[in-house]
């Protein structure tokens, strides 16, 4: 594993001014454009976790994945360790016993494969027909060796990133990846039609980048699109998933989205539990049926992302993973219940389980026929009925119905990002404001405009530049006193954006 940081953009400008103004004038029409609805293929939810046994993790950690409720692990079998002589595959305990063990434990395995081998194309990402054919034969050998257990292959890793492809392939990533997918598809699918080939493996949800891949024919060659939506806060991922689904629909085929890594670094271990639960609900509500947390255990390079510490002791993230696997997963995928308020996140799992969070309001729970409802924190700790909604997700089981009081928050730039309750626009100097709408970029989707390319807004951050003025507008529906508040922080990362445009 190599540690990788996104290159930092400059910090915000020396002075940022906030102006809150209230004035009666016609409502602007600069609403963020709505996503085009596209439905992802339905099916059972497959929950998993990334492991690194191919990198030497101790086998003692494997049973913990199963015990936590993972149905699948994502690991690798490194090509150069198996094919040391052209055309000869040597599967040994050293290079692949972890897959044997996972299969024996009843886990499904997703293999993430980097198409690099010193035998071909100088060890760089294979790009010649001969190199790609060799990789395709290797993928076929993997499929032949573990049929029914290795159920998915993720071709390459984070191909939109600097390290995702190296050598000549990186000079034309779209063509290089599509020709690789074509070679693997031809080698693997005839004998293994049920094996899922995953393409487009990307850091973040780079719908702009993936759209180019779709236009080049990638959707004809894969069974799923793999993304790694690392982000500072879960909310907003549902919009970006919808953008990706819409892009596939526009290209003619909607393939399942496989979230094969998701996480972030956490300042406190307990912060990971609500992050996991919220992410799971948001992704499933957006139609994702395959999601794998990163990672099973803490590592020196990523010491806060594990479900477990490296010694195997469980962290709050592990408790949340296990609790969701035991309590929510058997009830089926999350469904978002619409209440006409984007700041209220209400997800139902089956007929009697709910996950709720959002801007504050009262919460009234009607008991179901099986007895009084029970309330849990994300990590599965049972709590008393709080009677209110908060930013912390609340799990409720045994509830027939939920009723919510009036919202205390009328608009929220994060919870209501790209929703009609707010309108975003930007202007340069004294020019007229330009409405901001969705822009699908090579790292993420954000609110911006081709007419004002320096403007960019995400659920948590916005670009600033000399002369650039960004406005967020709320329009009152009724008279009264409201409290407008803002919090700015001098440092921010636009989620998924690693280079300036």
């Amino acid at each position: 594993m190599t540690r990788r940081r996104r290159p930092a953009l400059p910090l915000a400008g020396a002075v940022t001014a906030l102006v809150l103004s209230a004035a009666c004038h016609p409502q602007a029409s600069n609403r963020a454009q709505a996503e085009t609805a596209a439905t992802l293929p339905d099916g059972p939810v497959v929950t998993g976790v990334t492991t690194h046994f191919a990198q030497g993790w101790p086998p003692r950690l494997l049973p913990r994945a199963k015990a936590l409720g993972a149905g699948m692990i994502r690991d690798s079998v490194h090509w150069p360790t198996v094919e040391r002589t052209p055309g000869t595959y040597a599967f040994t305990p050293a290079n692949s016993a972890h897959v044997d063990r996972a299969c024996a434990a009843g886990l499904k395995v997703l293999l993430g494969l980097e198409p690099r081998n010193p035998l071909y194309d100088g060890g760089q990402t294979v790009w010649t027909p001969a190199g790609q054919a060799a990789f395709a034969r290797y993928a076929r050998a993997l499929a032949d060796r573990w049929p029914g257990c290795v159920t998915a292959l993720e071709m390459d890793n984070e191909i939109n990133g600097k390290g995702g492809m190296i050598g000549p392939a990186a000079q034309n990533r779209i063509e290089a990846h599509v020709t690789l997918l074509r070679a693997v598809n031809a080698a693997v699918k005839p004998a293994h039609p049920g094996l899922a080939l995953l393409g487009g493996s990307s850091n973040a949800i780079p719908t702009g980048f993936l759209t180019r891949l779709f236009r080049a024919g990638a959707l004809d060659l894969v069974d799923g699109i793999a993304v790694h939506p690392y982000r500072d806060q879960p909310e907003g991922v549902e919009h970006e998933l919808a953008r990706l689904a819409a892009a596939m629909a526009a290209a003619g085929q909607v393939r399942p989205i496989w979230v094969t890594e998701f996480s972030r670094d956490f300042a406190r271990p307990q912060d990971a539990a609500p992050y996991y639960l919220k992410s799971r609900a948001l992704m499933e509500g957006a139609g994702v049926r395959y999601h794998l947390w990163y990672a099973l255990a803490d590592q020196p390079g990523f010491p806060t992302m594990g479900l477990l510490r490296f010694d195997g002791t469980e962290k709050p993230a592990g408790a949340a993973f296990r609790f969701a696997a035991q309590t929510l997963a058997p009830r089926g995928p999350a469904r978002r219940i619409a209440h006409g308020d984007p700041a209220l996140y209400h997800y139902a799992f089956g007929p009697d389980a709910h996950v709720v969070w959002g801007a504050p309001r009262t919460l009234l729970v009607r008991p179901g026929p099986s007895g009084p409802p029970r309330f849990f924190r994300a990590d599965g700790t049972q709590v008393a009925d709080p009677g209110t909604v908060s930013d912390d997700p609340l799990v409720i089981t045994g509830a027939q119905a939920l009723a919510f009081g009036p919202p205390q928050v009328l608009a929220d730039s994060t919870y209501g990002f790209a929703e009609p309750s707010l309108a975003w626009s930007a202007r340069s100097g004294a020019s007229a404001p330009v409405p901001l709408g969705w822009v699908d970029w090579q790292w993420n989707s954000y609110l911006g405009s081709p007419r004002l390319p320096q403007a960019a807004v995400t659920p948590l951050a916005m670009a600033v530049a000399p002369g650039l003025v960004t406005l967020v507008r709320w329009t009152a529906k009724a008279p009264g006193t409201v409290y407008a508040s803002a919090c700015f922080a001098p440092r921010a990362r636009l989620a998924g954006r690693s280079t300036s445009r």
Binding site: V15, Q233, P407, M462, A463, V482, C487, F488
Partner: protein, 75 residues
């Protein structure tokens, strides 16, 4: 503050001078159809974390943005 009024609040977010988040809250009396704008202008290229809210009471201010993530793991 009235619906026709305006309030201006500036936050100096220069990294050398400010490390803590800058928070502001104002009460506004509004009529139906009134608009409330958050206007952000910067004097140098970069980015800021932000969050803003319109609430019916002062007890639900905008939470400060989550701290940035350090980066993504490689496989």
């Amino acid at each position: 503050m009235t619906s026709a009024g305006q309030t201006r609040w500036s936050a100096d977010l220069a990294p050398a001078r400010t490390t803590a988040p800058a928070i502001a809250q104002v009460a506004l009396a509004v009529k139906a159809g009134a608009t409330v704008d958050l206007t952000v202008a910067g004097s140098a290229a970069g980015r800021i974390a932000y969050r803003w809210r319109i609430a019916v009471s002062p007890d639900a201010p905008a939470p400060c943005p989550a701290t940035p993530s350090q980066g993504n793991p490689a496989p």
